[in-house]
């Protein structure tokens, strides 16, 4: 029992620190990537001076994220005169908390076997016995449904923020956020339905496991090869969910100042921004888990590699766990980088185009994709 507690405390610590680090580092990645894409250098002036020396650590501008955080904390927490102070104060947390919670059901590695890991220390190995733990905070059968349930909660936060700010811009932003997020939530759900039909489960870890096989003889059995179309639609809908360019109409700064968080300052506004950056990482994690073979390298299982030619490579348990943790983070970082690439490439939609795009373009495509998938799966199963 104590063992379980210990392992899960470590897991939760790992997950929270990974998310917070991603949230901070992604601000840096976004700045730097945008700069490099446009022949610039990017923010590189913030430094930490070692005490009592003249040594200034710049580290490619990594400290700009820290400087941002400090600025947010030290700024005046200005409050508008609103009729609903409670909702106003609550809104950032309603946006921020579900974003963190979503990560609880995402597997960031395979099965952890502490006894095998601590073989060198018999006392520890014996203490853990034959207990094994999946590298996932909450092993829930309804994993994907939980993701959508919590993901949908952030809409409430955005609406609360806009509603309780007593500001026309905030109100408009909240209205836009509401209709946009509900529209794209639907498309996200529809695209994922195809995957559910193929994998026959909504358990994210079971989905991850099924992706370590071989598809069509040569390819790794990744979701993106079974459902390439759904992958594109999912990515688009996810970016719209996260309200990033080209779908950033709820906070379109040239039209609505800052949209639904116009009236927020200091760390409350920081929470909105932080939630947005963490959600980039969450979308990355979700996309990796659903479409990019989750935490495994191609053809890799918890035991080692099983190549399509028939060759197998067995790996020690510690190495497998390490590879899975690192590979998961790398894949997430790559998907995040792709989202940033999209954000700095495309211009913003007009609002009517946005909704038309969702309902008249992506919705039929998602439905068609689902239909084709269902028919194909039915035909293959019927054989």
């Amino acid at each position: 029992m104590i063992q379980d507690l210990l392992v899960y405390v470590v897991y939760i610590g790992y997950a929270v620190s990974v998310l917070l680090v991603f949230g901070t580092v992604l601000t840096w990645v976004e700045r730097k990537q945008a700069a490099i894409m446009s022949d610039r250098i990017g923010a590189n002036r913030a430094y930490v001076r070692l005490p009592f020396t003249q040594i200034k650590l710049v580290w490619l501008g990594l400290f700009h994220g820290v400087a941002d955080g400090l600025k947010m904390m030290l700024k005046e927490d200005w409050r508008p005169v609103t009729y609903d102070q409670l909702a106003y104060a609550l809104a950032p947390w309603v946006v921020f908390t579900p974003v963190l919670l979503v990560f609880a059901v995402i597997p960031f590695g395979g099965i952890l076997d502490p006894a095998a890991l601590f073989r060198g220390i018999p006392a520890v190995a014996a203490w853990f016995g034959d207990r094994t733990y999946p590298l996932q905070i909450a092993r829930l059968d309804a994993g994907l449904l939980i993701v959508f349930a919590f993901g949908g909660l952030t809409i409430i936060g955005a609406m609360l923020a806009g509603w309780s700010s007593s500001n026309k811009f905030s109100m408009l932003g909240a209205l836009r956020a509401g209709s946009q997020m509900i529209s794209y939530e639907l498309i996200m759900g529809l695209t994922v339905l195809g995957l559910i039909v193929i994998y026959g489960t909504v358990d994210l870890d079971a989905m991850a496991r099924q992706q370590s096989g071989v598809a069509f003889g040569v390819l790794p059995a990744w979701g993106v090869f079974y459902q390439p179309f759904a992958a594109i639609l999912f990515m688009t809908a996810a970016i719209a969910e996260n309200k990033r360019i080209p779908f950033d109409l709820p906070e379109a700064e040239s039209e609505l100042i800052a949209g639904y968080y116009t009236e927020y300052s200091a760390m409350k506004m920081g929470l909105f921004m932080f939630a947005e950056f963490i959600e980039i990482a969450i979308i990355g994690a979700l996309f990796t888990t659903l479409f990019l073979g989750a935490y495994n390298l191609p053809f890799m299982t918890d035991a080692g590699f099983v190549f399509p030619g028939g060759g197998t490579v067995a790996l020690p348990h510690a190495l497998v766990v390490l590879i899975q943790l690192v590979v998961f983070l790398l894949k997430v970082l790559l998907v995040c980088s792709f989202q940033i690439l999209v954000r700095w490439t495309l211009p913003r939609f007009r609002y009517d185009q946005l909704l038309k795009f969702a309902w008249k373009f992506m919705f039929p495509l998602a439905l068609a994709n689902l239909t084709v998938t269902v028919v194909a799966v039915w035909a293959l199963r019927a054989q």
Binding site: I36, M37, D39, R40, I41, I232, L341, T345, L346
Partner: protein
């Protein structure tokens, strides 16, 4: 828009290819220890494309003995539209050729507009402008006053416009005309 363009996807992929290509190219430059940006670090680096006649920071030209060529006539301070030049004259009886020289010559760079009128006004070619603007940015505007030691950093030996040592000028005889 044609159907191809209205499908969004392919045009978007093309756009992503362009921006991603620029990113990869610049990233490759950075990773091979070259500079993958057009930016010039300021003030650490000097832009290579300053125009030859760019009006930058002022220098005071010097006589061979290192004294400023300036005769403290105050013409530059008079013509200066920003009124940012302050000159205090000194008298040197030991040098009968140049008895008047500045004991204090200061330019307030927080107000200077780099118009170059001081250079035009100077009868002695004592003040000139170099094309760069080195070390001007400061955290405090009171540190932006440059005085004689900072302005006398230009080496006169390399000047071609006015040969050194200059030939002694003949005093025009009055009433000759």
């Amino acid at each position: 828009m044609s159907l191809w363009e209205r499908l969004y996807l392919f045009e978007i992929l093309r756009g992503l290819g362009i921006t991603g290509g620029v990113f990869l190219r610049n990233m490759w430059l950075w990773m091979t220890f070259r500079k993958g940006a057009l930016t010039t670090y300021y003030p650490e680096e000097t832009r290579f494309d300053y125009a030859e006649r760019n009006r930058g920071k002022h220098v005071l030209t010097q006589r061979p003995d290192g004294k400023p060529q300036c005769i403290a006539c105050n013409l530059c301070a008079t013509v200066c539209p920003a009124k940012c030049i302050e000159i205090e004259a000194a008298f040197d009886p030991d040098d009968p050729a140049h008895p008047k020289s500045p004991s204090r010559f200061e330019i307030d760079y927080s107000r200077c507009i780099f118009c170059g009128l001081c250079v035009e006004a100077c009868p002695e070619d004592a003040i000139r402008m170099v094309k760069e603007v080195p070390n001007l940015p400061a955290y405090d505007r009171r540190t932006m006053w440059l005085s004689l030691p900072e302005l006398l950093t230009w080496n006169p030996q390399r000047d071609v416009a006015k040969p050194y040592p200059g030939a002694p000028r003949k005093e025009p005889t009055r009433g000759a005309e």
